[in-house]
């Protein structure tokens, strides 16, 4: 009788333990998805109870879902606009967790690597003002490189994307012409060229079209063996894209209170100019104590231990001077007025 009771009790405990596993829902940006999915599987080892589900539905979807409070955290490449922030029922925090960069990849017959581009040339090519690879301006930026007379075919992302947002934000910063005629955003009206769907669409276009030039994420260009151009930064140096160049661009900046900052066209000597943060979005006042604590702990882990997984996947680890600011921000996460993170 006693034994039976303990068996029943044990079974009840086990089933209680199973149902207590909390499911954390996240949704948003596709760009950091490989890293997030790595983090989620690694974090399972740290906290076996944490069952995190992330759906890469796009930044716009991430913002909409966190506004509608259908997810526990959202994710976006471009910070929320003032209009979007105004829709929030309670304050939403931007937590920068990693960084990436956009590269200009090309397919120029006879030039398998080493192409150099100035900001004016990047803007000129994507505006349709530089139309042939043999253009004298291209030649003067690339002394010693034999450029063919092939016409330039511009490839852009036809789907709305954070990649386009970062790239156009950079172009709007370096070219007044671009800013006035095209502007910046996740979808813009490109003056010329062909649209490819997704990173894979642009990659396909660049790979199969002689004379093509397009922009993709660094990881994508590397995986597909695309040639990528070195871009001249504000300091006057031509920088090949790499996680180090991105971390360099992200450090030494003045950090605003909401942690949303543009790091394109940075002034440092090693800065890769087309770099950007990507953010996790969380409500400052969590509605569920258990879930809130779990999200806070996961983010804390991601910005510390999680950073070592970044470089292998071509993301840039957070720079040292930004980390304390993010720690302070995470410590403002609350449930029922009580702070969720008590570390350090």
């Amino acid at each position: 009788m006693n034994m039976l009771r303990s068996v029943v009790l044990g079974a009840a405990l086990v089933s209680g333990g199973l149902s207590a596993q909390t499911v954390i829902q996240g949704a948003g940006a596709t760009f950091p998805y490989p890293l997030y999915s790595k983090w989620i599987s690694e974090y399972q080892k740290v906290d076996p109870k944490a069952n995190i589900n992330y759906q890469s539905i796009g930044s716009g979807g991430g913002i909409r879902q966190i506004l509608e409070e259908t997810v526990d955290f959202g994710a976006t490449d471009a910070p929320m606009t003032p209009q979007e922030r105004a829709k929030a029922k309670s304050p939403i925090l931007h937590i920068p967790v990693t960084m990436g960069c956009v590269v200009v990849s090309y397919n120029v017959p006879g030039v398998s690597s080493g192409l150099k581009l100035t900001p004016e040339l990047v803007a000129g090519i994507f505006m349709g003002q530089v139309t042939k690879w043999s253009d004298p301006k291209l030649a003067s930026a690339n002394p010693g490189v034999k450029l063919p007379a092939t016409p330039i075919t511009v490839a852009y992302r036809s789907d709305g994307s954070g990649t386009t947002a970062v790239f156009t934000e950079y172009l709007a910063k370096v070219s007044a012409d671009w800013k006035a005629k095209v502007g910046a955003g996740k979808s813009v009206k490109f003056p010329i060229g062909l649209g490819g769907k997704g990173n894979e669409g642009v990659t396909g276009l660049v790979k199969t079209t002689p004379g093509a030039v397009g922009y993709v994420e660094l990881a994508y260009a590397k995986q597909n063996g695309l040639a990528v151009a070195a871009i001249r930064n504000k300091n006057g140096k031509f920088i090949q894209p790499s996680p180090e160049g991105v971390t360099s661009a992200a450090s030494g900046n003045e950090i605003p209170a909401d942690l949303c900052m543009s790091i394109t066209d940075g002034p440092g000597a090693k800065d890769y100019p087309i770099s950007a943060f990507t953010y996790i979005l969380v409500h400052e006042n969590q509605k569920d104590g258990t879930k809130g604590k779990m999200v806070a702990d996961f983010l804390w882990w991601a910005m510390h231990e999680g950073q070592k997984f970044a470089a292998a996947l071509d993301y840039a680890p957070l720079p040292k001077d930004v980390t304390p600011k993010i720690e302070a921000k995470l410590k403002t996460l609350k449930f029922a007025g009580k702070v969720l993170i008590t570390k350090k």
């Binding site: 539905i57 796009g58 930044s59 716009g60 979807g61 913002i63 606009t81 209009q83 979007e84 016409p151 075919t153 036809s158 789907d159 709305g160 994307s161 954070g162 095209v182 502007g183 910046a184 955003g185 996740k186 979808s187 813009v188 009206k189 490109f190 060229g193 062909l194 649209g195 490819g196 769907k197 669409g201 396909g204 276009l205 199969t208 079209t209």
Partner: protein
Amino acid sequence: MQSKFAMSVPQGRGSWLSRLWRAFAGTGEVNPADRIFLWVTGLFAGTAILVLGAMTLQVFRASLPSIRQFGWRFLIGKDWDPVLDAFGALPYIYGTVVSSLLALALAVPIALGIAIYLAELAPTWLRRPLGFTVELLAAIPSVIYGLWGIFVLAPWLRDSVQPFLAARLGFLPFFQGTPRGLGLMAGVLILAIMILPTIASVSRDVLEAVPSTLREGALALGSTRWEMVRKAVLPSASSGILGAVILGLGRALGETMAVTMVIGNRAEISFSLFDPSYTLASVIANEYAEASSDLYLSALTELGLILFGVTVLLNIIARLLIWRVGRVPSGAGRS
């Protein structure tokens, strides 16, 4: 048994509402099992209407901000600039209609040839395997067509077909500009291949439904096979074939993935087949996930409403045509 079913068919006069009520409430004579059967299947049929109605309403409501903002100008506007929140649908409507109609123009003659061969001329042992192969084309996922388009079709068009056309027919506005491979031409070709099996297999079924007496009569009067098909079979199957064509058109209008991968995705109206274009379904698929402003989202939804309207209209026409074919008096079975 038959009389019991006949009881449940709405009869008599009165408003449609009272007839509907009588059909479902029935009289005491109907078998209870039949009554339940009627209700359950009726409920299922009702869900289809409910879903369609709810979707239309929802899409319309979501489009309202855009309809209010742009009005009719939305249909004729050529500018699509999310940065400025300026939206016009004309390039997409143009791209959708032109790519679909050109695909039809290419696919219909070939599909008809396939259908006539399968229904009239092919040896019996060949009909099944050949028909199956044609239908198998419809089973290939569109993303595969799209990838094939990017990596095989487009380079071939760019290096061989388009330079040839530009050299021979370059004086026409349809074959001018830089040959890039990807563009309207690639989109049209992919669509034509994709709608071919639909048109071919439906047309074959329609041709097979033509009574044999017509064929026998034509042959008895001394027609050749060609004359028999042209003067006896095709005229009596024409409305059904038209239905098949419209079904194919419906598929072409709604195709998204394969088209967006090869058409170049550029909201421009150009007569040249070398230039990129864009379709309604493609732009919705491309931009909806990341659309940020409310007006932008609403404009995309309105594109959906436009596409929905066009598709519904064509579906109704197709249904009417197929219904007419079903009423063609059938003769004796084929020998």
